[in-house]
């Protein structure tokens, strides 16, 4: 039986899936113009995902250069200034180029299919949101070849490092950030409008798949904080070129002001990178546990609480900068509060798996690893939240270990889980399960070898962002570097698997996974170019 003839699940079968050409709804255009001019959410989603993969590999190469230099104490590979450029570019590319676009790509592909919409609400704007990115990142990567080198002040670009003492290329960096901001804001508006306005009858808010919910909340965060990022880089630009003194105490300004404004953006930003991950995991775990998600509504409320709290915790990044005691206390306790809704979520995931008939396909492996390793990152975050203790941890490798645990086995693992989970829906073919599992285990082992020792060297006082280190840190650093290369090179398996999944016929069923529930599993695999041209019935 071919895929299109398969019956769709009974409660959702009324949704008409368009497989025939109509006046406005035809297949993809031929040639390269399809990708340049497209208004199709699946095309745009794919472009976002490919772009993200390319950036992930670029930023990954920079990470490997960093780990090469840190393999031994002393300076082997590069000058300190180039090392600083690598840490800066690695951070910026991974945050803005790899993780964020990957989630936007997933949103583009999945949200319309999950809620039963014909496309994103504003398709042309959607295309624009994507195409800004390659230009913005070309410009940012181009700074590597400029006189004075690329930005070298860390991805947090603290003033005055990024103003008074910055290389000339900082101006291009500022404009690149502006472009990314425009792209993110338009993308977020599109997501919100799609979710609020494009749902068919019966798809009430509290029936939305959790991936959609988490993205809705993420989109609000984006709209509220990306303009603040634009504001802070604008103030930098003014300080550098127009003689203002926002971040110069000599004129009555304050470098600490930069940190406040930056982290008012920056803290919600890190949740922008994790909330959609929560959504992905909340889709995958029920499928492979063959149970409904435990505590759906508490998941929604927990996500909203985390989003709210993200706005009142920013100064926990600045405990050592010199804040009044009241500030230290407020931000310490507010930060600890985040553990409550996060704990609710972890509890719910575990409770979903409890007594489920679980199987361990690749997406599930990544999802379970997410729950465990993200929790480790959460716990080290809780340690960092304690202001007096943070005085010891601040700017050490402990911080590096913490945020890599939440970002790599957190966000990145969830993106990989999502890729494996939905690849059969996107391509119509199953991926190679054996290779997927191998990819998972190599990544899992590699990541832990890389980042776990960083906790130890951090607690012992090794500072971050320094190309050289004291001899007593040598063993752990060598171990970290080996782990990094294992993790880095195992990603080639991921790419190979994706490409062969697209090229090798291994027809997937519409449902793909035995326990999968949701509108996206009612359409054939691969999903037709236009889904749900008329609204599906949702009971």
């Amino acid at each position: 039986m071919s895929a299109t003839e398969q019956t769709v699940s009974a409660d959702m079968q009324h949704g008409e899936v368009n497989t025939q050409d109509t006046e406005h709804h035809h297949g993809p255009a031929k040639g390269f113009s399809r990708w340049l001019f497209t208004t199709n959410h699946k095309d745009i989603g794919s472009m976002y995902l490919w772009f993200s993969l390319a950036m992930f590999m670029t930023g990954g190469c920079m990470a490997l250069l960093i780990r090469m230099e840190l393999f031994q104490p002393g300076l082997q590979m590069m000058q300190p200034d180039f090392f600083n450029q690598m840490t800066t570019m690695h951070g910026l590319i991974m945050v803005f180029g790899a993780v964020m676009p990957a989630f936007v790509g997933l949103a583009n592909w999945m949200i319309p299919m999950m809620i039963g919409a014909p496309d994103m609400a504003l398709p042309r704007l959607n295309n624009w949101s994507f195409w800004i990115l390659p230009f913005a990142f070309s410009m940012m990567l181009f700074t590597l070849f400029m006189e004075g080198g690329a930005p070298n002040f860390g991805w947090t670009f603290y003033a005055p490092l990024s103003t008074t003492y910055a290389p000339p290329s900082v101006t291009f960096f500022i404009f690149a950030v502006h472009m990314m901001g425009i792209s993110s804001i338009m993308g977020a508006i599109n997501v919100i409008v799609t979710i609020l306005n494009m749902r068919p009858k019966g798809m009430v808010m509290m029936k939305l798949p959790l991936f959609v919910w988490t993205w809705l909340i993420t989109a609000f965060l984006l709209i509220l904080v990306m303009p603040v990022l634009a504001g802070v880089v604008t103030m930098m630009l003014m300080d550098i070129h127009f003689g203002t003194s926002f971040f110069s105490a000599a004129g009555g300004g304050d470098p600490v002001l930069f940190q406040h404004v930056f982290w008012f953006f920056g803290h919600p930003e890190v949740y922008i990178m994790i909330l959609p991950a929560f959504g992905v995991v909340s889709e995958i775990i029920p499928t492979f546990s063959r149970k409904k998600l435990f505590g759906y509504s508490s998941m929604v409320y927990a996500t909203s609480s985390i989003a709210f709290l993200s706005f009142i915790v920013w100064a926990h990044h600045m405990f050592t900068v010199g804040m009044p005691l009241a500030g230290e206390l407020f931000f310490m306790f507010a930060t600890m509060l985040i553990a409550v809704p996060t704990g609710v979520k972890v509890f719910n995931w575990v409770a979903t798996m409890f007594r489920g008939s679980m199987t361990f396909e690749t997406p599930m492996l990544f999802a379970i690893a997410f729950v465990v390793l993200f929790s480790i990152g959460g716990f080290s975050g809780l340690m960092l939240a304690i202001a007096p203790v943070d005085f010891q941890y601040h700017d050490t490798y402990f911080v590096v270990a913490h945020f890599h645990y939440v970002l790599v086995p957190g966000s990145v693992f969830s993106i990989m889980a999502a890729a494996y989970y939905w690849l059969p829906k996107w391509t119509g073919n199953y991926y190679n399960e054996k290779m997927g599992k191998l990819h998972f285990w190599l990544s899992f082992i590699g990541i832990n070898i890389t980042f776990f020792p960083m906790h130890f060297v951090g607690l012992a006082g090794m500072p971050r962002r320094i190309p050289d280190y004291a001899l007593q840190f040598a063993d752990f650093n060598a171990v970290s570097s080996v782990g990094a290369f294992i993790f880095g090179f195992s990603q080639l398996l991921f790419i190979y698997n994706i490409v062969s999944c697209i090229r090798t016929k291994n027809q997937a069923t519409p449902e793909v996974w035995e326990g999968a529930k949701g509108l996206e599993w009612t359409v054939p695999s691969p999903a037709p170019y236009h889904t749900f041209t008329t609204p599906p019935k949702v009971d």
């Binding site: 624009w128 410009m139 494009m198 203002t244």
Partner: protein
């Protein structure tokens, strides 16, 4: 809002987005190059910036014309209309946050940073950086006058700024008159009040230019005159930029009204720009209070 999207209009392929991305890149790269260029490459950079600017102008005009044309063809359902409304609403929210960043900076400087620098409060030790520095607002003497010379005088809020407040608040009222008239299909009154709004907006901008000119030539108040000048010009400057955009959009709407577009029931472009104008007005009231008066 759950609805039937029987015929949600998904536009065909469009070359506007990619061209707009290229234009944006030209503008961004051109600006960067203009600001950092050595003397011999400055012209090329400026050319790039100009090309980008002309391109984006052309694209905005043709993109919006296309949307308007599609709307006239009846391709847009009420659901589509709601999409545009939500979109514009959240766009304005993001603009609010853009200004919030600068207001936040102003409040942080005034309430925390400057008192500390002046030796007050918990972090008053920072006064040792410039001993004898006295905190005051407006900050007429900066901690290091050799680097940043403070302003000699500041703008008197009860002259031009008060006039500008009246102008801008009045323009919000006249715009509402125009909207009411449009709803009642009194098209002459619609264009009359809209024209009045445009005139008020342009007058506001004129006085803003006069104020800036005075600030630079008579008051010694410039971008470089310490944190007072920095916050003053970034807040009023970006506001002025938004008023300029708003005025241009109002002119577009006026032209469209005169050409007989918009009906009493369907005129979202008009409403969107009215929202934007009111937003700009509200920001001004905030500026008048926190930048000029207090």
């Amino acid at each position: 809002m759950q609805t039937e999207h029987q015929e949600y209009y998904v536009p065909d392929q469009s070359y506007y987005p990619i061209l707009a991305s290229i234009a944006l890149f030209f503008m961004a790269f051109g600006s960067g190059a203009v600001l950092t260029a050595a003397e011999n490459t400055g012209d090329l950079a400026m050319l790039m910036l100009l090309i980008g600017f002309v391109m984006i102008l052309f694209i905005i005009i043709s993109w919006f014309s296309k949307v308007a044309a599609e709307s006239r063809q009846g391709l847009y359902s009420p659901q589509m209309d709601r999409s545009f409304r939500w979109g514009m609403g959240w766009f304005i929210s993001s603009e609010v946050m853009f200004f919030a960043a600068f207001f936040g900076a102003l409040f942080y400087i005034r309430v925390l940073a400057l008192p500390w620098l002046g030796g007050e409060g918990e972090k008053g030790v920072s006064n040792m950086l410039w001993e004898g520095f006295v905190n005051q607002w407006p900050l007429m003497t900066t901690p290091d006058p050799s680097q940043f010379k403070g302003p000699e005088k500041i703008v008197d809020p009860w002259h031009i700024p008060l006039l500008n407040t009246i102008l801008l608040v009045a323009s919000s009222v006249t715009l509402t008159f125009s909207h009411k008239a449009l709803k009642l299909n009194k098209r002459h009154w619609t264009s009359f009040w809209l024209a009045v709004t445009v005139v008020l907006g342009v007058t506001f901008l004129y006085y803003q230019v006069v104020e800036y000119h005075e600030a630079y030539t008579e008051l010694g108040l410039t971008l470089a005159s310490g944190i007072y000048g920095s916050t003053f010009f970034i807040l009023t400057g970006f506001h002025g930029f938004h008023v300029t955009l708003g005025t241009l959009m109002l002119i577009c709407i006026l032209v469209r009204v005169l050409e007989g577009e918009f009906s009493g029931k369907k005129h979202f472009a008009f409403e969107a720009i009215a929202w934007y104008w009111h937003f700009v007005d509200v920001v001004w009231v905030g500026l008048f209070i926190f930048v000029y008066i207090l």
